[in-house]
């Protein structure tokens, strides 16, 4: 435990990613974002700013929306992570995907995985969100293409589709 050791050592991290148990050997300060992309090949999680401002790297950690660029992998031991790839089997994914397509909620696509994670996180907590709830729920996700209105409309539309079912 002496900090005089110059270098850290790799550690084994056992965690669940998209429902599958994964074991990786990583330096504990490696970012969850890098482990997902580089070790596990889950490149749907994007790096935007790398400092927690843009939301492109959003994932769910034990059900909580987090920026994976701000989570050291050493803090993800035993956690359950859901990335955009893991949402494909989520009940909310179809209505959200259809609504994003129909409303023009995606353009260049870099923000889209994070937007969808944030939208699903919101709809899980508030199935019938008001516009103010949608704006707040997505406020940590920046988009430089759409001007946001199409995205807000997509989330509102996804909520309506789901309620209509």
């Amino acid at each position: 435990m002496s900090p005089s050791q110059r270098n850290g050592a790799k550690c084994e991290v056992l965690f669940t990613v998209n429902g599958h148990t994964k074991q990786v050997l990583a330096y504990p300060m490696e970012r969850l974002l890098d482990v997902l992309r580089n070790e596990l090949g889950l490149t749907g999680t994007k790096e935007g700013c790398g400092e927690g401002e843009c939301g492109s790297c959003s994932v769910l950690l034990d059900g909580m929306l987090v920026n994976s660029c701000l989570v050291p992998i050493g803090q993800a031991k035993g956690a359950s992570i859901v990335t955009i790839e893991g949402l494909s089997t989520h009940a909310l994914m179809n209505p959200v995907r259809e609504a994003f397509l129909e409303c023009g909620g995606a353009q260049c696509g870099i923000c889209t995985p994070g937007m969808i994670l944030a939208a699903v996180h919101l709809l899980e907590k508030k199935p019938e969100p008001a516009l103010a709830d949608i704006r707040e729920g997505l406020a940590g996700n920046l988009c430089r293409c759409t001007g946001y209105m199409q995205i807000f409309e997509a989330v509102a539309s996804a909520a309506r589709r789901r309620v209509a079912k």
């Binding site: 435990m1 002496s2 900090p3 050791q5 110059r6 270098n7 850290g8 050592a9 990583a26 330096y27 504990p28 300060m29 490696e30 970012r31 790398g50 400092e51 927690g52 401002e53 939301g55 959003s58 909580m64 929306l65 987090v66 920026n67 660029c69 701000l70 989570v71 050291p72 050493g74 803090q75 031991k77 944030a118 996180h121 919101l122 707040e136 729920g137 997505l138 406020a139 940590g140 996700n141 920046l142």
Partner: protein, 292 residues
């Protein structure tokens, strides 16, 4: 320059005593990390001076909110989401609940902690003016024992704190005696979420028989530390709110603050806005007093 993770260590003792022993064994070597919303930003930019980090995210007693008849005790690693979801915080400490909602977006609220905001000691932090007006007290803990310190004595200068090298913030206590106060919070920034304030205000007031019985004002981003406006409060106490008092208050606020020019705003703009925010609060307080 991006940080190389091979040069850093992160240990997870999982128990408070073990964390304190590490801090005491090699003071100033270890940096506690909770949700990482400040630490990881510095780390990724290669600007983190420490090479050795201790995980305190998984220490249960730091994540608890305990309610007592006379106070509420918030574990230092409670997140903004936890604060927003707590009934007592929402009902009796609305300035803190509002500041928690202003901080970052949802993802950062899920990870950012009140203790981290205090330890990071930014004069622009949104939650700190609320702690000042609510007379918060912090508990600092080390292997030497614990000490309680009024929060107003915690910041000694820009990014300077009373925290010793072997100490950790354990909790923040707020006395439950402000529920009857009129409260007003206002942030002026480029954007509500994810934007650091140009100026933010937390204010409490009580009117009795048409005059101000008690008033508590604190501002962020106008001085090297989050600033309680003691002199302006004294000027206002016992007075009847009217246009001349509001002008006096505005002048007193400008005299009391030390704003600077930086990337987000200018000293001149901040001084004007600080005066305006206090004036707006007084107008609202007067209206609330009329309706009471």
């Amino acid at each position: 320059m991006r940080a190389d993770p091979a040069e850093y260590r992160l240990v997870s003792p999982g128990k408070l005593q073990a964390v304190l022993s590490l801090l005491a064994g090699e003071p100033a070597q270890w940096l506690p990390i909770a949700g990482g919303t400040d630490v990881m930003v510095l780390y990724s930019a290669g600007k983190l001076p420490n090479r050795n980090l201790i995980n305190i995210w998984n220490i249960p007693e730091l994540r608890q909110i305990d309610v007592f008849p006379d106070r509420i005790r918030i574990g230092a690693a409670c997140t903004y989401t936890a604060l927003r979801g707590n009934d007592i915080v929402s009902r009796e400490f609305p300035l803190l609940a509002t500041a928690a909602a202003w901080t970052g977006g949802i993802a950062n609220q899920n990870r950012g902690t009140l203790g981290g905001n205090i330890a990071n000691a930014s004069p622009a932090a949104d939650s700190l003016p609320a702690l000042l007006v609510y007379d918060a007290e912090v508990t600092l803990i080390s292997v030497r024992g614990e000490r309680r310190l009024p929060y107003r004595h915690f910041h000694s200068g820009y990014k300077q704190t009373a925290l010793a090298a072997d100490e950790l913030i354990r909790d923040i206590s707020l006395p439950r005696r402000f529920a009857g106060y009129f409260s007003h919070a206002r942030k002026v920034g480029a954007r509500n979420a994810q934007a650091i304030s140009k100026v933010c205000l937390a204010a409490l007031g009580q009117i009795a028989n048409g005059t101000i019985r008690d008033v508590r004002l604190a501002l962020g981003s106008v001085a090297p530390v989050p600033l309680r406006l003691n002199e302006t409060e004294q000027v206002l106490t016992g007075k009847k709110i009217g246009s001349s008092l509001i002008e006096t208050a505005r002048k007193s606020v400008v005299k009391e603050i030390q704003p600077i020019d930086d990337i987000r705003s200018t000293a001149r703009y901040r001084a004007a806005v600080a005066g305006n925010l206090v004036a707006e609060f007084l107008e609202k307080l007067a209206a609330a007093g009329m309706n009471a």
